[in-house]
């Protein structure tokens, strides 16, 4: 069916509203001048400057480190949760499954405040020296990212033939061999997709990170926020463009792995 003209206009307007700001942001990261609204010629200056900004690089590194840690833990925890929910029947199973959705729907601000209270009470936020100080943030990210992994893995398990597990046992494999040789290899695409999802969620999280960051530690989104309160410089545009590129690349990978494989 071909789109009628009014529909085309609506669609065009929607795309414009959605993507024009991002396009402008990316375009002005290549602007030669300081202004963020007047084009003054093409240059990579702001990328060079961003790359030389120690604060920015440190924040970027922190974000990547936190995302990596959160991704590993979320993937393990989410996969284990999904398998447990699928494989075993136990009291409170449906309650547990329902609880999985909570971090997905609860406003991030509430989760942030809740985690802040927990971390403050346990002294996690103040006591730790530098690299260890990233751990509480990573754990906070796990709290909201692992349910996404569990949901993705569970979706794949729904189409999983339980006879494969029985065939494995029938052929002499115990629980462990069946897990590592049959179940996990077949879940790998879902685990990779879930992991990439967790990574991107963690990488650009602002609200929860803002609440759980101790003094002296910063992540990229939090740093950008503090920088734009003074002025928006093309340096931020450049750094943001890099972040967009990383996120998009990972999202594309996640999409590719999410597609059912043979």
């Amino acid at each position: 069916m071909r789109l009628s003209l009014p529909l085309k206009l609506v669609l065009g307007a929607a795309l414009l509203v959605l993507y024009a700001p991002i396009a402008v942001l990316i375009a002005f990261s290549f602007n030669a001048g300081r202004r963020v609204s007047v084009w003054q010629g093409f240059s990579f200056d702001w990328y060079v400057r961003a790359a030389n900004d120690a604060r920015l690089i440190e924040a970027f590194g922190n974000s990547l480190t936190i995302a990596a840690i959160a991704t590993v833990i979320s993937t393990l925890l989410g996969t284990a949760t999904a398998i447990a929910l699928w494989r075993f029947s136990f009291r409170g199973k449906s309650v547990l499954f329902g609880l999985l959705g909570v971090p997905v729907v609860v406003p991030e601000i509430c989760l942030g405040v809740a985690l802040l209270i927990v971390f403050a009470r346990t002294g996690l936020m103040t006591a730790l020296p530098y690299p260890a100080s990233l751990l509480p943030i990573a754990l906070a990210h796990v709290a909201f990212a692992f349910p996404f992994v569990a949901i993705v893995v569970r979706a794949r398990l729904a189409g999983f033939d339980p006879r494969l597990i029985e065939a494995s046992r029938d052929l002499g494999a115990g629980e462990w061999a069946t897990l590592t040789r049959v179940l996990l290899p077949l879940l790998r695409p879902a685990m990779v997709a879930g992991a990439l999802l967790a990574f991107t969620l963690s990488l650009d999280d602002f609200v929860i990170t803002f609440f759980t960051t101790g003094p002296g530690t910063t992540t990229f989104p939090v740093l950008v926020y503090s920088m734009v309160r003074f002025s928006v410089t093309p340096e931020i545009n450049a750094a943001s463009t890099v972040l967009i590129a990383v996120t998009l690349a990972l999202a594309a990978l996640a999409y590719k792995f999410q597609k059912p494989s043979t």
Partner: protein, 307 residues
């Protein structure tokens, strides 16, 4: 001599009794068929033998040993699933090697045994293929090779031929039979197809609604059915009353009399008639009647089956 015995085994799922007080024995090296209509409990019986279901009552004995506490991976039986359940992420050869690898069979032993098993099911050229590249019939051969390579004492086959088309089915029937003779392993074939059971099995157990109806050789079951159900299950049967029945080929016809031919169908090697609207009779091609002809039906006591 008994390889496997089911001793008064019962299995319930909620309110349905899937298997009801079933007693059976299978001998070493025999081709045994468990036959019955869909839903009569065949798969459940087989799953109890493999260890995937626990009987609510009764015992499963392998070589005289109660296997109640033995998990599936430690029972010397293997199962060919109705859905094949071939591992989609492993090549044909790796599928077949799986059962040897997970039980720490020496590497030097695995390769020749896999090759031998693949040759047995005529897949020796396809070892590197992935299951998704194979037809249903070929996937089933993988499942078969994967189980045979374990050299079980008893091989369980759940409706192995039901998913195949007719031509392939006939081929696989004789091939399974040949395979069973070659390897000398006892086969337990589950099927709802009486012709299949008849043509393949040394002995057949007929089940209905979870209960055993009769066990015997195909000839026994045909000539001396113990129950009305068994009598009606194999071939055609005329039930004269509650206690007597007669096969169509035992009904003799002679010309003239008070009965009428109401249907006549030529089958090539014989004629099939319906007399007076109910009684079926078959006759050789030199005994020809037309619809409406007057006939007399004749049989002796020896022709009758008593149920």
């Amino acid at each position: 001599m008994t390889l496997l015995a089911l001793d008064r085994v019962t299995k319930r799922f909620g309110t349905t009794t899937a298997v009801d007080d079933l007693t059976l024995d299978i001998r070493p090296g025999e081709f045994f068929a468990l036959l019955g209509p869909s839903g009569c409990g065949k798969t459940t019986a087989m799953r109890m033998i493999a260890g995937f279901e626990t009987p609510d009552a009764g015992r499963v004995l392998l070589d005289g040993q109660d296997v109640a506490g033995t998990p599936p991976e430690q029972r010397p039986v293997n199962l060919v699933f109705q859905s094949y359940a071939v591992f989609p992420h492993l090549s044909v050869a790796r599928n077949v090697a799986y059962g040897l690898e997970v039980t720490n069979t020496p590497k030097a032993e695995i390769a020749p045994r896999v090759a031998e098993a693949l040759a047995l099911v005529k897949l020796d050229q396809r070892g590197d293929a992935m299951p998704s590249q194979l037809s249903g019939g070929q996937q089933q051969r993988v499942a078969l090779a994967r189980a045979l390579v374990k050299r079980p004492k008893l091989l369980l086959l759940d409706e192995p031929l039901s998913a195949l088309d007719r031509k392939l089915r006939a081929e696989m029937q004789s091939e399974l039979k040949r395979l069973q003779r070659d390897v000398g392993i006892a086969f337990l074939l589950v099927t709802h197809d009486q012709d299949e059971a008849m043509s393949m099995a040394d002995r057949i157990a007929v089940m209905q609604a979870g209960k055993l109806e009769q066990v015997g050789t195909p000839a026994d079951l045909y000539a001396r059915p113990a129950t009305r159900f068994v009598a009606g299950f194999f071939g055609e049967m005329n039930f004269l009353d509650d206690r007597r029945a007669i096969r169509p080929e035992r009904v003799r016809l002679s010309a003239g009399g008070s009965s009428r031919v109401t249907e006549a169908v030529f089958l090539g090697d014989r004629w099939s008639y319906v007399i007076d609207g109910t009684l079926r009779a078959t006759a050789s091609t030199d005994c020809t009647f037309a619809v409406g002809d007057a006939v007399t039906t004749v049989w002796t006591d020896a022709d009758l089956l008593r149920l």
